[in-house]
């Protein structure tokens, strides 16, 4: 490090690609909020989103971001189907059963991806993949800025949906008190389906931006699940603001960790941060 100014690059980059973590974590946190089940397959679903966008891009020549116009509804419906025919049936027996089903789904997705696309590392290549922009002396890859913009848009849309629509309020109510929600006429099975559908739609978005930002393999899902988990704990369960700030902090500390400690610091530093913050504030930064 020659000067403090050199830190501007990793700081800006970390905050910007932290947006990717926000998108991935939000899907995980939404399902956990209503079902109190950690969808351990969420990371794999995100990576599935990357692979589907990869196919759309290489075979059909569709731009990955443009692909989301189809990908979001497709994953939303897929989420409803998975919830209705697999997860909910197990969930009615016990939350543990649902957890095991989710774990199995994750393994199936990983192995199907290995068969279809080999274990080789892939990435989404576009005309703007290698472009960068300049702020002062700092050069930033364009895709990092896209990660951040995507996070901002997603957070605003989900926030408005949860606040302003009957369905969104039903999801909010059910995550605070399921039994009372039922007394309001809210069918919990339907709420779970919608929440899971949205979570999958977010996985489609996360998958595209993941593929634009980092290379991925069929087993990448696990590390992104762990990161998303870290983000939620950092920000505080059930808080949208927390997830947003948590994601950015995670990206920032990962980027700075890499700068100071090299590749080994990239995950070490953010998780040490998670532990430190939890020691000071066990409910997370914005948790209640």
């Amino acid at each position: 490090m020659d000067s403090l100014a050199d830190l501007a690059t990793p700081i800006t980059m970390g905050i910007l690609y932290g947006g990717l973590y926000v998108v991935i974590a939000l899907g995980l946190s939404l399902v956990f909020g209503v079902m109190k089940v950690i969808n351990v397959a969420h990371g794999d679903m995100v990576v599935l989103g990357s692979y589907i966008a990869f196919v759309a891009s290489t075979s059909l020549g569709i731009d990955p971001i443009l692909w989301l116009v189809l990908g979001i509804p497709l994953f939303f419906i897929l989420g409803i189907v998975i919830q209705r025919f697999f997860l909910y049936r197990a969930f009615k027996m016990s939350a543990d059963a649902a957890l095991i089903i989710a774990f199995g789904l994750g393994l199936i997705i990983q192995n199907a991806e290995q068969l279809a696309w080999t274990p080789l590392s892939r990435s989404l290549q576009t005309s703007y993949s290698l472009k960068s922009f300049q702020i002062g002396e700092v050069y930033i890859p364009l895709v990092y800025l896209l990660d951040f913009i995507a996070a901002l848009i997603i957070i605003l849309i989900i926030h408005q949906f949860l606040k302003r629509t009957y369905l969104g309020q039903a999801i909010t109510a059910a995550s605070q008190d399921r039994q009372t929600a039922e007394l309001m006429g809210i069918n919990p099975a339907r709420v779970y389906q919608i929440a899971f559908g949205i979570s999958m739609a977010l996985a489609a978005v996360g998958g595209v931006f993941l593929g634009l930002t980092f290379p991925f393999t069929p087993t990448s899902g696990v590390s992104f699940l762990i990161i998303a988990f870290g983000v939620i704990i950092l920000g505080g369960l059930g808080s949208m603001t927390g997830t947003f700030i948590g994601g950015l902090i995670f990206g920032l500390s990962q980027s700075l960790g890499g700068t100071f400690l090299g590749p080994t610091g990239q995950l070490l530093v953010p998780f040490v941060m998670v532990i430190v913050i939890l020691t000071i504030r066990p409910q997370g930064l914005f948790g209640r």
């Binding site: 009957y166 309020q169 039903a170 909010t172 109510a173 605070q176 008190d177 039994q179 009372t180 929600a181 039922e182 007394l183 309001m184 006429g185 809210i186 069918n187 919990p188 059930g238 209640r288």
Partner: protein, 239 residues
Amino acid sequence: MPEDVLLNVKDIDVFYGTLQILWNVSLEVLTGELVAIAGANGAGKSTLLKTIAGMMHPTTGNIEFLGEDISRKNAYNIVTMGISLVPEGRGLFPEMTVSENLMIGSYNRNARALSKEQLCRVYDLFPILKERKNQMAKTLSGGEQQMLVIGRGLMSNPKLLIIDEMSLGLSPLIVNNLFQVLHEIKEAGVTLLLVEQNVWKTLHEADRAYVIETGRIVMSGDALKLCEEVEIRNAYFGV
């Protein structure tokens, strides 16, 4: 006048797992009445209400609402039909605002179109809720929280409003005010079913009452007459 029977509970047995809570319980609520169910803690009052609202189901017997058997229906369908249960312990959504709590009360498809008028009605009954409409529900006082859950119960536009342990933990002054509002609600055409440990007060306010003891209905009839029954005094006041 059987056409006036709004709710008809017929000989229900209810179990919690293998433990029987209610034995052969029957009761009737007529349209326009204020009926009270009185009984000590653990007598099975809340179980009875949960069964009527569809959160639990009877193993034998059935429950008819407006002539239709509802004993196998889910809670979220029963609200739509016009039964609204105000749960015990002020089950509100703590991290939602007062107005959000009220609006979610009109979630069911029969209430949604009327939600604006219903909201005005609730704010007329409980002006304090209007003042606090943008506050988080958890920041309200105990009395205000009880007003909020009653108001939320009304938002579903019910024919029958059931309130579980309304006066629990509230000062007598607040309880009196709440009963005044209940009479206004009754005059507006909503039938009321109250469950209370606070027997004296409830029996003075109700038209008819049932007394429940260890899962069985032991007395029923005109509320004021029940008041005079010696057994009640013995059972609840130790006179």
